[in-house]
């Protein structure tokens, strides 16, 4: 993970907003897809987590109001450079709630790391405070997932598919 040289709160808001929007989009896609594939339990997990991220996005958008924000193209967001977990391609249509929570947790690690690294590296005090605040948000997100995981039974294998889609022998 490469921490960009953030110079202002505005620049950081743009980065944080895009990062959270990506997370929200990924979780929503998983929720929609699992709903379409008749896995409402896992879909609900992703939907709930997506809504939690949506609250952070709304907060960032409220912060952005009245500010002149820099325009950063998607390909210039720096968290994308290395060790991006890209875990959502591991989503299977038969995953259980536990696996869904674990994947969402993995997916959100880059945001946690990004905010943590930014808070440590930047010199601008306002950016540092905002990064720390968002890092705290992330930690609450992780705590929620941890609590949910503790409430669930130990991991079980995927349900058997009575009509498997493939025929490798």
């Amino acid at each position: 993970m490469t921490v960009p040289h953030i110079q202002s709160v505005e620049e950081f808001i743009v980065h944080a907003h895009a990062l959270k929007c990506e997370s929200e989009e990924q979780l929503e896609m998983c929720a929609d897809s699992l709903r379409a594939h008749n896995n409402p339990e896992a879909a609900t997990v992703f939907r709930t987590l997506s809504q939690m991220i949506g609250e952070t996005i709304q907060e960032l958008e409220a912060m952005a109001e009245g500010r002149e924000l820099p325009q950063v193209p998607p390909w210039d967001f720096h968290w994308q450079l290395v060790d991006d977990p890209q875990c959502m391609d591991e989503v299977h249509y038969l995953i259980n709630e536990r696996k869904a929570l674990e994947l969402a947790q993995l997916n959100e690690q880059r945001a946690l790391k990004y905010f943590q690294d930014t808070a440590e590296v930047v010199t601008d005090q306002a950016v540092k405070e905002l990064a720390q605040r968002l890092h705290d948000h992330e930690q609450r997100f992780f705590q929620y997932i941890e609590q949910r995981l503790q409430q669930l039974e130990e991991d079980v294998a995927h349900h058997d598919d009575l009509d498997p889609p493939n025929m490798p022998e």
Partner: protein, 277 residues
């Protein structure tokens, strides 16, 4: 549009309320994401964009993008897109589909679209399998892939080389993206839309259901560093030496763009008059 609008126009705003029915983990989700990111970055009005497709899993895209859209018939995405661009040159026309649709059923159209060089972008989501019809070998499937009951010993046929074919047929913009990096893909899409002419983006888009081994692509795809090339001979050599896992804008060269010579706007009666014997 003011600078402060940057964060307010979200890629999400370019999505419809129709939810994709792709399999969980499908690479096409990332292509949808990259397209909406590109449109948001370019701030294209929804009514200025038309997304045209053929048939297949990936060809469901127009239903999910909030622009003009047309879900056409199998293999005919390029004639449809070309026809639209000719009569509505002010539109940003994006054609999309899969490897079967584009390189097999629509293979002939593909070559001539490269040659004709009408100003449009063609995104091919290549998963090297017919997913919608449950996993048959496609034109880009390796000769020894033996997981389909239709070809239990593999096809025995060398795979189609779409980028080399596109180069030979005269395409001036040839790129390869990867669904595992939608942000980089969005850059390719922006560049393709801005390119005046036919722009081909092949996207390595894994099929988790029928080609689960393609999940390994994320460890195999790499950004090529010695591109774009501008000389077709060098590009041909580069493509011949490449293993198909290098991503980025590979070839970029200006060619004359084909445009309709006559003003569009004839009435049906005018057209009938032209055909009268």
């Amino acid at each position: 549009m003011s600078e402060s609008d940057a964060v307010l126009i979200k890629p999400k705003d370019y999505k419809t309320s129709v939810k994709p029915i792709w399999c969980p983990g499908c690479g096409d989700f990332a292509v949808l994401s990259a397209i909406t990111k590109a449109l948001a970055w370019m701030k294209l009005a929804k009514e200025e964009v038309a997304l045209i497709s053929g048939i297949g899993c990936s060809s469901r895209l127009p239903a999910y993008v909030d622009s003009y859209g047309f879900h056409g018939i199998h293999g005919r995405v390029l004639p449809l897109a070309a026809g639209l661009k000719v009569v509505r040159p002010e539109l940003t026309v994006i054609a999309a589909g899969g490897d079967g649709d584009g390189y097999s059923i629509g293979g002939n159209h593909f070559m001539h679209a490269c040659r004709r060089n009408i100003d449009m972008t063609y995104i091919v989501m290549d998963n090297r399998v017919y997913g919608m019809t449950k996993g048959q070998a496609s034109p880009t499937t390796a000769a020894d892939w033996d997981k389909s009951k239709l070809t239990p010993h593999g096809t025995g046929v060398p795979p189609f080389q779409p980028l080399s074919i596109a180069l030979a047929a005269g395409a001036g913009f040839i790129a390869r993206g990867f669904s595992g990096d939608p942000n980089q893909m969005s850059k390719l899409i922006v560049e393709a839309i801005e390119y005046p002419g036919f722009a081909l983006i092949e996207v390595l888009s894994p099929c988790p259901t029928f080609r689960p081994e393609q999940k390994e692509w994320k460890h195999q795809v790499r950004q090529a560093e010695d591109i774009p090339l501008h000389d077709p001979v060098q590009a041909a050599e580069w493509l011949a030496a490449d293993d198909g896992m290098s991503s980025g804008l590979i070839y970029h060269r200006a060619h004359p763009v084909w445009q309709a010579l006559h003003e569009v706007g004839s009435t049906l009666a005018d057209i009938e008059q032209e055909f009268r014997i």
